[in-house]
Symmetry: C2
DNA sequence: CTGTTACGGTAACAGATGTTATGAGTACGG
DNA sequence: CCGTACTCATAACATCTGTTACCGTAACAG
């Protein structure tokens, strides 16, 4: 049956190569050959693992989501209280270190690729829904007395602020250094009474 | 000397074609030929007006900025008071109608194209700086008692929230309809006491 | 009217792109 | 130890890309 190759590991390696190219050279240079070069293989392997280019992009998109989900669940599990959990989970969505900075660039790239690609758009909607549910749940836990509409609107605003900060930081890191992003998050949470 | 052709008008027509393709087909299909088709001409005219593709994109980017600047100055001039001006100026940055929804998609596209294109990145930084200055000024006018750091951080957070909301709405308009975006903006301004 | 000049369409070019076909190498089952 | 099935590189392919060269057309100057 199967041989030596570890399929999931190769899928992940190629997906990482997609992120690498997306973050380093931009979406315009996100080609099969550049991805293969970043992964240290040829287009033969890429096409052997994925039926076509779009399937590769979809997998890279989904893997990015799962990565952040795992990180977020770890943060949530180790948080001292609901407010700390909310703060930590939101903070990891910004571009505060090299890893999340790269992810922010990649996220913008995928968002742009979403236009005119129904499957990437569906993937984005699903992931974003899970993200909204998580933040809403954390806001509700941090402010149990709030009525549901207030929780929802606050969660939406927090999400938008974090994504916006990450997007702006990805395009202009000098203007939005980690400290500035932290200050933005702290100020917003304080303003909302969270 | 010159003939019948109105150079600035043609530049604008081609730039609009760039937006049209960017918003309708995505950055992957943003090619000279698709732009020419959207503008109802051939690549000959495009290359006759712009030295190369990147110059065309830069012009379209800059024109988008000038468009929003003019709209924003109109809103600011007709606002009843500083708070109303801040609200109106921020609101036009979200995807509340067809025009601004298109612009949001285009904005994300250019942001993604910024990676690996130093000139587009420089353009983005300049435009975003002007945007930050404007919002900071409006926040200071709306809350004259605030110390400068508070004004700056609040302006940064408001900007991030608005851009994030626009980006999210551009990729998932059903989840972020105009009313939801309005609610997010109102809740955020109220939370900040503005 | 006529010569000239800008305009812009047509078509060609080299290179890049996604995809497919082919085949050499290799690890496993028998 | 052999054959088979999987792995993946090589190379070809048709198409698309940005760019350039070329040329017919039309409007203005004289």
């Amino acid at each position: 049956m199967s041989r030596t190759a570890d399929l999931p590991a190769q899928h992940e390696r190629l997906s990482r190569a997609v992120w690498e190219v997306l973050a380093g050279q931009g979406i315009e240079r996100l080609t099969l050959r550049s991805v293969a070069a970043a992964a240290g293989c040829t287009t033969g392997l890429v096409m052997h693992r994925f039926p076509n280019r779009k399937a590769l992009l979809r997998h890279a998109r989904q893997l990015l989501h799962e990565r952040t989900r795992e990180r977020v669940e770890r943060l949530e599990a180790t948080a001292a209280n609901p407010r700390a959990a909310l703060h930590a989970v939101l903070a990891q969505g910004m571009a505060l270190d090299e890893e999340t900075a790269t992810e922010s660039i990649v996220w913008v790239g995928f968002l742009a690729a979403t236009v005119g690609d129904a499957e990437l758009a569906a993937l984005h909607r699903t992931n974003n829904e899970a993200w909204r549910d998580r933040i809403s749940r954390l806001v509700a836990a941090a402010a149990p007395a709030w009525p549901k509409p207030r929780v929802t609107t606050t969660a939406f605003a927090l999400i938008a602020m974090v994504e916006g900060a990450a997007a702006l930081a990805s395009a202009d890191p000098a203007t939005y250094p980690p400290k500035a992003q932290q200050a933005m998050l702290d100020a917003t949470l304080t303003a909302f009474g969270l």
